[in-house]
Point group: D2
């Protein structure tokens, strides 16, 4: 935590309004259509530092989720903040129609890395916000294939623009918004704790993948013309580790085998790394755990550590060369804005200078070991798993399997109430719930979390669990 300034010393913008007054204002003028009102009484935070959020009373909340993994490098990271301020001093603004050095360097840094690690020449196209980068990837796919339909995973989440919603599994995101003529065909993800086919991992022999492969055996399964080997679906959108879906981790051999099937039928693999990229799983891209190079990678969030957003796609040269994806193919006002690129460049430098490939898995292993200890005490902790510092904890009934959404909700609420007392002072705990049955804590702590902070997190988690179980 040494790298972040002590937030408590920061200048305070004086505010005359109480929380209640602010909430009243919010109830009147803010749309409730975002995710704030998933809970009954939303929290107002006013400061942040390292692993912590602070409310307006100064109560400290340990954050185990870090903005869905946008804040990998800790809140209020001085080095990254300074990079932003330097850019603000010099070139805070520039229309993306013109070039600036940081854009070029960041693209070179990202695409150069792929050249070295994956031996694959490609290019970077920037945008702002993950969904917009996702939309750009859809354009690349359609441009190449001349078809618009794609496969995607059950449990997959790719954003909320209309195009991204069409390939995000949950129907709830489409329900009220008319017809989605590009709805993906959703394929079971290898979520082995709750196998869609009721198989067990040790004996399944990747049955789920074989079922996918089977689709190509007869034209009557509806996806391929066996005479022309043209598939109705132009690409398969994957998250190597599912994000919103609940931090499910696929078996290690899964994606390489999947890619073979896709290659056989000229189907592109698009890898959405928006949540899992930039070492969240202990490797630069989560897909690197699976020995496979996707055709397109979509990234965002942590590239700027949750500051001025910048997102983008990397694509293989043949998909994105100026010849096929020429000037004016796509565009957005803030697509490669100079603050975002400066932040991204600093993040890339930090990554180069750090040893996250070792540190993140190490911290992850420790965290999991502590969670597994808890699991032994509490049968309600059904599944504990993780890759790097992407961790999942499923809250269940006593049988350790039946999903217990209520228990997870109660624990989240207790954590956010800021009334936990572990460690001798009133504290809060920031947890987030995901998963197919909304019973899974998806944890994405700061890469700079210390062992002591992990221990604190475990203690707070246990306190919340005990209190929730008491409520019954």
């Amino acid at each position: 935590m040494s790298k972040v300034k002590n937030a408590k010393n920061g200048t305070q913008l004086k505010s005359q309004m109480t929380d209640e007054e602010l909430l009243k204002l919010e109830a009147k003028y803010c749309s409730w259509g975002d995710t704030v009102h998933y809970v009954d009484k939303p929290n107002i935070f006013s400061e942040c530092a390292g692993c912590y959020l602070y409310d307006r009373n100064g109560t400290e909340f340990l954050d185990l989720q870090m903005w869905y993994s946008a804040g990998n490098f800790g809140y209020n990271n001085k080095r990254i903040n300074d990079a932003l301020i330097r850019q603000v001093d010099k070139l805070p603004q520039l229309a993306c129609q013109y070039l600036h050095e940081e854009k070029i360097r960041l693209a070179a840094s990202l695409a150069g890395r792929m050249e070295r690690t994956a031996e694959e020449k490609g290019r970077i196209h920037f945008n702002v916000g993950g969904s917009q980068a996702l939309e750009d990837s859809l354009k690349l796919v359609r441009r190449q294939a001349g078809r618009s339909l794609v496969f995607a995973f059950m449990g997959g989440y790719h954003g909320r623009t209309l195009g991204a919603s069409a390939i995000t599994s949950s129907f709830r995101y489409r329900e009220h918004y008319g017809h989605f003529g590009e709805r993906a065909l959703f394929v079971p993800f290898p979520y082995c704790f709750r196998c869609f086919y009721g198989k067990k991992r040790d004996s399944c022999d990747l049955y789920c993948l074989k079922q996918f492969e089977k689709l190509f055996e007869s034209e009557y399964y509806g996806v391929i013309d066996r005479k022309t080997n043209v598939c109705e679906f132009a690409a398969f959108y994957v998250e190597a580790v599912q994000g919103t879906g609940g931090y499910q981790i696929a078996p290690r051999e899964y994606f390489a085998e999947l890619k073979k099937v896709l290659d056989r039928h000229n189907i592109l693999m698009v890898d959405d790394e928006i949540q899992m990229g930039f070492f969240r799983t202990g490797k630069f891209w989560a897909i690197e755990h699976f020995d496979v190079t996707p055709d397109i990678i979509v990234f965002g969030k942590a590239l700027t550590n949750g500051m001025n957003p910048i997102s983008g796609v990397w694509a293989k040269e043949k998909l994105i060369s100026p010849k096929v994806f020429g000037p004016g193919s796509t565009h957005s006002t803030f697509s490669s804005n100079p603050q975002g690129t400066a932040l991204g460049l600093e993040v890339m430098k930090i990554i180069e200078e750090s040893d996250f490939a070792v540190e993140v898995p190490k911290k992850g292993r420790y965290f999991i070991s502590r969670l597994k200890s808890l699991q032994k005490k509490y049968p309600q902790i059904g599944d504990v798993d993780g890759l790097g510092l992407a961790l999942r904890v499923e809250m269940c009934e006593k049988d350790g399997f039946t999903p217990n959404k209520r228990l997870a909700d109660t624990m989240e609420e207790i954590g956010l109430s800021g009334t936990l007392s572990t460690g001798g002072k009133k504290r809060g705990l920031v947890l987030d719930i995901g998963g197919y049955y909304k019973n899974t804590f998806t944890m994405a702590p700061s890469f700079y979390i210390t062992q002591e902070e992990i221990d604190l997190g475990i203690d707070l988690f246990e306190e919340a669990l005990i209190r929730a179980l008491k409520r019954g």
Copy 2:
């Protein structure tokens, strides 16, 4: 210009690369799919301040376009920069699932303003980037109407996500990206200099609007069931002043009359103010010139003065109340990020404390008067028009009417070459070309541009014109 720091004194990040080296890197690793390569040799800029961009040699470019109107309040505006830095010190990051004060205050500021000026209660839903806000507006429309098709204007531009491309007139943006089942029905905009119907403004009696109205006379015109008064099109997307389309300004009575037609058939009016909002035209929203309150307003760009992007929609209560647009309706990671809201709040304060309603039109009038003087000298200047500081200059053949794209291109290229000599030193001029025939300079100077800077702009413009005419 007093409000902006002198960019020349800023710390300089040392860079070992020459422009040529950077361009080589860019050619290798950057996608050319954005708008950078619309010109043969793109400029690299490294600093900015007030109305000026600076290349790496220190050459000063007067910018008359200000990032498509994202930079209304000048580059490197100290007050706005300071607001950003304050927020970076205190709460640089916060997941949008939680509340922070600036978000609430900004929503209240924007929606409260509508309550006072338009006597219309509504709410704000934030997002990041104009296209994403536009997509949110499409969700609001579909949610309300249960139908997805909309009207939009020929010449209209609403962004580049797939959903926004479907309602943006230019087919080029859709051409390579598959089928667009929600393609808008494009209606002629009242672009009176080149009337779609060949009419003259002084005698047309809004013929174009009457033709639109005629569509509702018989079910056989294809848009309405006269028995049920249900229209196939749920909304009409408008830009009060067309942006990318070429800064066309509709006749003052146009939109009020249009709204009457739409209301008669329960068609929503969605007003895209992404480019023209925040006093670009001399009023807060451009639509305010037209005495009409749209049902939904979409905004972005200048709200943060081109810094950390934040965008949003304002919608009438009945369209966006929690009852119809409940929690989880839409969402994005950076949708109401704290840096963006802090910037927006500062911009709103500046607006409150300034007199842009007087200043902007005054500067606009002066600018136009100077352009009109030029027009008298050069028959190639076909049309000069403007609203506030949104100005348009059409470059034509000698007849003053036939579009002359080549002339505009040459002038832009000369301006960007940084070789103009007006005012005694080597300078550049930043112009941008838009319009149906790509022959129109769309000018959006800083609100803080001085009379001297306008004069300089006119001189540089004339020099570029003379040199371009010489090239023949």
Copy 3:
């Protein structure tokens, strides 16, 4: 009428039910979703012959509409009936997977005719029912262009399958059936009596066509990429004379000029002759009046004189050769069923042996002259026009222009009541209403109608008009 047997001598299937009992049964078990219940009390007919329908009381109804032109060659045409019966004796059934002589001969007859008259090699693909042939034409278009959107006319009607409804102008046909992602862009038809643009035919200089052409001038009009000359719309669906739309007749030079525009941008012209083909307008195809060869022709209805349905498309070789439209491209059980082909072949023989090119226009001129005489007496007859025996009469207010749907409805109802007394006995008159304002009688009498029968029709029409005017 000599060619048709006397229907009154036919064997009568004894029926114990009264009309009332039948109507009661109908109200219980028949869907009312077809067009029967457009009128309050539908007629039950039990026999037909020549130009006449007979109800179960033997009341004779003169039919001036002949099943929307399906019955061109008269009801109960002995020669055609005999051809059917011959086929029933010999080869009444055969799966369309196998060949039979009549299919081949009919295709050769139709395509051979095009070779001779239009000097264009092509092929015939059969189907059953006009809509299905229309759907086949959409497949040919999409196969060729790789795009699905098309232009079609305001007032156009192409059928009621979902695909045909998408390109039929009236929204009412789509309103309750979800999203139509292939909705055509509807272009004003040159319906000169009520010009969409308010022009007059003698001075318009085909303004409507020029407005269509204008769409291709700028990419911002939304239909074309001027750099690639690719149009967003793959084809233009036309009816040379609009059918359901109200028997509007385009100016003679219209379609040749339109075809030039389309050819310039590689847009196919698809000519829907389902209602107007087979000499209804005095030429084999209605489009032959306009000196232009479409790329695809769709036909149906009268090919079998309203008997066992067969329909089809003719397409230019390059669009339909086995190379591009290979085995299994499309198919339907009854597509070239032997009874249909035998009937079609007989109709083609009758056409060859007759002189409809002279007879039909001659009868049409006489009919129009009689209608024009009526028009002089009754200002409510607004427009009288016709091509061959496709005739239109617009019922208006006294001003001769304002559409008077009520008057037309009343006249139709009086005609169908079977209570007219012209000619000394109780008679009925079968009229059908079409047109953009549902005030137009579209008349399509039998080709064998005699001068006496035309006179009778005029008298009955006048009687109905007088009675309707009295009702007020």
Copy 4:
């Protein structure tokens, strides 16, 4: 066979052309886009009677397929032919806008039957051709649900209009025709011989159905909003016995269980009986074997015994009452044409007067027993199954399982060559191939086939098999 006239005595239309000349003409003027050219040298037939087709040399072909079940009641069935001729004498034509007795009686006969047998009030909507009736059913579904997407079965076939192609499993039917925004979600059919999940029928416990049911367990499986219980898919299109898919027969308890799942989520069941209706399976509708009443039934083909086509839908009152499916909802020229209704009425009378419920299963059992005897001799006969007279025979490799398309193709070709010699004279055998792997003979013999003719069929089948096996 006593009921059909001896086709050999029929009048012969003299034809001067040889088969070769006709084929040459066909190659020039006929589209090859239908299914004729699935074989290299298509047969030309010129007469038919009972179970037989005759080519122009008088060679007799025993037809075991009967026009994909359109010819249930035998070719050239005198009674049915006479009904047609009676109608041709009396009311051969009538616009479907007017009523005629046969239409009402036929609707009453069909809907009345549902009232008696299924205790369900409903109505009939007629059309022409199965695909058009299918399109009408899509309209009923969309009208009711306000959504357009549907489930359908892998292996399902519902026609070739664009709308029907979207819900037909084979991608080949969509491949060249643009984007299909209403593509169904295809679900595995219980094709137990080749279970999609690799299960065995005796132990599977309807695993496939449970997998379908599982989709509704979590919103992340992509089909349902569990909060609102709204499913993204409005209906499930089923064939109780798959037709083109290969005459697969579902387990008896399957559809009742499926209907329970659908009812739970307000999903309509639409039963496509176009091929299997009218006692093909030994019951009026094939679905009657499964103790379930669908919400909509689509029918066609055999209703007119392959003569003048008429098709239709039956729907439950709440889906089709005039209140929800009012006048003008859909329509086609030939939708309830008098020849078709007269034929349908005669077929309904024959059905009433016959005992097909006993006769058809009895003949089917005999046929199957003979096929099973063959199966014992030839391991290449992999699966023999049947319901009523819908029979399936899968040709395989020696292992009795691996699909052997080549063997089936060769047998079909030998049968169609007309060179079999069983029974002492040169004969042909008409077989048709279907199934997921195109190795399945789908047999649909005439209901009037005699035991001797079945024996002949078996002998010819064996001869073809022996000759094909020799070819190797």
